[in-house]
């Protein structure tokens, strides 16, 4: 018995030493947002996952992924120096008050998903209608401007909003363009359609804690290298059905 305890203690010690040795950055994200991040079997996959893996390799730090709700990501980054947020997060002025952002790496654009027979074509048609969004996203802010706060149905996951659109509980869903494209392609639901209402979108960036400018610098340097090497286009080809959709440039 004593031997086992001693062994356990030794093991724990060894583990803690090993953990302290490598600098590990926690990647906070919400893997329910294909094609940017999702779960495939036991693996996390997607544009953001590939990107941050490449960034970590270039900048020389280890990463571990931690899945959470989207609205929890920014708090996780705020409260922990070694946590970064990589979750299709648009760079906005309000968010910049709480966290630092890397350079933008993609501007995805916002689109509106509606039921075909509803025939909504402009944002004016959506005034006073119920719009489903994922809580705390730029789609959420856009929807609030169109239809007013009390008419926006904010979900924990974007997929729930789509399901309530299918179930007629909301009239429209606003989401990032590649995400909307991907979900419609996999749902194969002919009653839904995508409408571009010219909504203004922001660039996606990586969230870094305000007290860790060294890390931010490393990430930005890595992003620059990757961009120069044509990695963004590579990812766009891999994850978006056509290169045009990505508007990576």
């Amino acid at each position: 018995m004593k031997k086992i305890v001693a062994l356990m203690l030794a093991l724990m010690l060894a583990l803690s030493v090993a953990m302290a040795a490598a600098e590990t950055i926690t990647v906070a994200f919400n893997p329910e947002y294909p094609p940017f991040e999702s779960v495939d079997g036991k693996e996390y996959v997607g544009y953001d996952v590939d990107l941050i893996k490449a960034v970590a390799e270039k900048a020389g730090f280890e990463i571990e992924f931690e899945a959470m709700d989207f609205d929890a990501v920014i708090a996780a980054v705020q409260t922990n120096k070694n946590t970064i947020g990589v979750s299709g997060i648009s760079i906005t002025e309000e968010r910049k008050l709480s966290v630092d952002f890397s350079d933008g790496y993609i501007n995805a654009g916002l689109i509106v998903i509606i039921k075909k027979d509803s025939g909504y074509a402009t944002t004016d048609d959506l005034k006073g209608k119920t719009i489903g969004v994922q809580l705390g996203t730029t789609s959420d802010f856009a929807a609030e401007e169109i239809t007013g706060q009390s008419n926006v149905a904010q979900y924990k996951t974007f997929l729930s909003a789509i399901m309530d659109l299918q179930g007629d509980k909301v009239d429209a869903v606003i989401v990032d363009k590649p995400v909307g494209m991907a979900i419609l392609a996999s749902l194969k639901d002919d009653s839904l359609e995508i409408v571009d209402m010219g909504l203004q979108a922001d660039w996606y960036g990586i969230e870094v804690n305000k007290d860790n400018p060294e890390l931010l610098e490393k990430i930005n340097a890595a992003l620059k290298e990757l961009e120069a090497a044509g990695f963004y286009e590579e990812l766009a080809v891999k994850y978006f059905s056509t290169e045009e959709e990505a508007k990576a440039e």
């Binding site: 705020q78 309000e94 509980k169």
Partner: protein
Amino acid sequence: MSIFEEWWLPIQTMIDNREPLNFFQNIYKEIYMNAIKDDRWLLYLDGLWVTLQVSFFAILAGTALGTILAVLRLPEVTELKYRGTNPMKKIGVAILHFLSGFAKFYIDLIRGTPLLLQVLIINFGIFGSIRIEKAIIGVIACGLNSAAYVAEIVRGGIMSVDKGQTEAGRSLGFSGPSTMLWIILPQAAKSALPSLCNEFIALIKETSILSYIALTELTKAGDYIRSRTYSAFTPYIISGALYLLLTLILTKLIGRMERRLRASDH
């Protein structure tokens, strides 16, 4: 300009200049951002109102349905035998047995699965293609869930009433059902009340799960404000305080009711 904004302006200037705030300035910043700015405190009250309404109707529905389930699960029903030849009565007993079996199945099913899943299944499955108010879905989901717990509490309450009470009722000429309704249930309610209070409190707090189907109740109100102010936890503290207020008031009311009922103890 209100007094709150007058207090805020110097802090805003400090934040713009990236000067560090002291402890009290930080607290005021959190309160101002999460409750005062843009009249955000109204959002908590709206959320509180939704939570209150949903809880109230869910408790009513849950108690009514739960009591029916409890009665169906009583030995008087499960062990009911009819040896006569009247076919109508035979069918009646068979139906009662079926309902009793269903009640047991229902209670096991509901108690054995998480409320969150029940809410999601009811919203996206059962009412998947029906346009219906989210608050009503909330009342249905929480009411159905609560009924299973209430059933067991009420059953315990009924079992705790002395058998002599039933015998007394029957010998006074009450029928079986009216003995239950007028003599047993009122006494059962008295002993079940503390456990029921527990269940009601749990139910009020569990309505927070309804934020998953985009109902703007109290937890969601906090979530919403947090997604606008990026405060790590202050909105949750405000929401939490309001839940506490709600449950404390309920506890007080039920405590008063218990004292009233005790007045008949001699």
